[in-house]
């Protein structure tokens, strides 16, 4: 089932299927290993459309809400 990253809950492990962000944001995500096909775990969400915290390959990465809206993921 494909959903937006912001629709996932704490503790979900998801696979990135598409990134609809612009070139700059997409490259920044890729640099941190957040690329199509990769699995990330959603560690924390913040209230009122605050940033999300995901973990990938041993690093923790904060992603702004509006960017996370553009990341499409597949729940396992």
């Amino acid at each position: 089932m494909t959903v937006r990253l912001v629709e996932c809950g704490r503790g979900d492990r998801v696979r990135i299927v598409r990134i609809d962000a612009g070139r700059g944001a997409a490259l920044n995500l890729m640099n941190l290993g957040l690329d199509v096909g990769h699995v990330v775990e959603l560690l924390q969400r913040s209230p009122l459309r605050g940033p999300l915290l995901v973990s990938h390959d041993g690093t923790e990465i904060a992603i702004g809400y509006h960017l996370a809206e553009k990341i499409l993921v597949e729940k396992n």
């Binding site: 920044n28 640099n31 690329d35 969400r45 913040s46 605050g50 915290l53 702004g64």
Partner: protein, 642 residues
Amino acid sequence: MQLVLVGQPYSGKSTIFNHVVGYKSLSTNAPGSSVEHTHGSAELDGERIDVIDLPGIYSLQASDDAGDPAVEHILEAPDDTVLINVIDASVLARSLELTLQLTELRRPMVVALNMSDEVLRKGITIDAGRLAVRLGVPVVETVGRSGEGVFDLFRAALRAGRDRLVPEVLPGPAHVERLLARLTELLGDRPLPRGLAPRFVAIKLLERDECVGRRLEPHLSADDRAATAARLTEFEATTEQRAEYVMSAVRHNLAFELFESVARVGTPAGGDLGRRLDRVLMHPVSGFAILVAVLTGMFLLVFRVGSAVEPLFLGGFERLELWLAGMLPPESLGYAVVHGVVAGFGGGIGIVVPYLLPFFVALALLEDTGYLTRIAFLMDNLMHRIGLHGMSVVPILMGYGCSVPGVLATRILKSRRDRLITATLTTLIPCSARMTIIFGLIGFFISMQAAVFVYVANLVLIGLVGWVMSKVMPEESPGLIMELPRYRVPRLKALAQKTWFRLKEFVVIAWPILIAGSVVLEVFDHYRWSGPLNDFLAPYTSGLLGFPAAVGVTLLFGIMRKELALVLLFAAIGTADVASVMSTSQIFGYTFFVTFYVPCLATFAALAKELGWRTASSITGVTLAIVTVLTVGLRLVVPLLS
């Protein structure tokens, strides 16, 4: 020979840099137009080496058209440069993606497998020798925090520079290599910008990199550009993906293949404590509760320490002043000058030791444990409402201690826009000196509630100014993406170095200004110029703002040191019983005005250092205008309330 430390954020470059350059050299922080790099020099085996620590970068691929200053620095580096690629070995696969890009530069290079102790704990074994063979350059295992292997690393770098050890290039899949060959062929024997390897340029053409593209402009004709575009379009027709994404994926696969050939992943020795901590510390509810507790604790501690220690120093300087009065005739100009120097010197000590030192230590603790970035995460949402990011919270917090380190701390922000808005807001935060005025005047002569009201009103004002500024200068960045560092136990030496680095900035910038300001004040007093000055300022101070004309001089010298305004006010109106001379609305307006009208001279100098004289003057002008309007507003409103 110039050694440049390049690596991803949190790879430990700066720790290695400090270990080598450390206290021994006069390393200066040279802020560039947008982001600083640190330059230092040291002696190694009798040879003098220049070392540059660049800000962390994830990639040489520019994610925006403006380009990254660290990347620019690498591209512009002179021919005798040796790159020291510092890698956080515990995230080797990802780090190698930058390494592979650096190999394309075809410059002498060494690799530091840093934090090798952490790697063992994670259960990973890395064959450094094999990595060295695959990359064709020396690979040295280091532990930056303890200094293990660091000097070996620099020796290897010197050798790499002397023997010109240039890394091997790992080829990508055939279709990409074919495109790169065609682009290189197209470049032919055209002269390229200094120091850039043809293959590197071909990759940058493929990636449509604006930063390198600008450099190439004079070297390529319109036909060349059309031919490049045609080849990219042709390539993308077969891959059905933008070429830069293809290149990124190629590099990712190469890095992963390289990682698998040199590393073996076993079972980690310990559990993941950091993630368990973050479940609590980053939680929407418990995270905020802990944040409030940590910050309140930090402020209370700093102010407790400060207010307990300050009288000790001030007492000492008062005795020194008395002694001076016995040595020099009190009416002489000489006495005025010497007294000014002593007062300014004492004022500096009175700020540095009691308030700044504990503040910097507390801040360095928050920073080195990794909690500061978590604060930024937690505050991100709130800061966005005033057009800023979570990281802006750091300078603003510091501003409650002293505006000077607050303004200097805006350096941690990437864009000039964010630094400008944050610095402006930071100057509006009531620092500890201004706190004494607020509580000494409003708190004492009106009520404590009124004093607290000033703080609340101040936060509203900051929110409004931030909101307006963010509307005038809209956000351009693509949204928050920030790696959080791992939690660490801070090292005493690193804390001491960090604290010293920041203290030095205060000592060098602010202190001389405090001293000079005090001297000017004394000389002014000596010649009794206050009367004419008050008359000159009267149309503004008493006409517009409604203060007694005698306070004019206090406003001018409050600029030197804010807390002086209080002492000078007593002298100017001839009594410490302010309420007998000024009305409630005057006291309120005066305090409000003095607190916020302009940054003190030392803060102005810090603003000028970070943002330039013109911007510092504009910020001062803007705050003066805002506060004038508000004070006039108060003058009209307060009598209606009381």
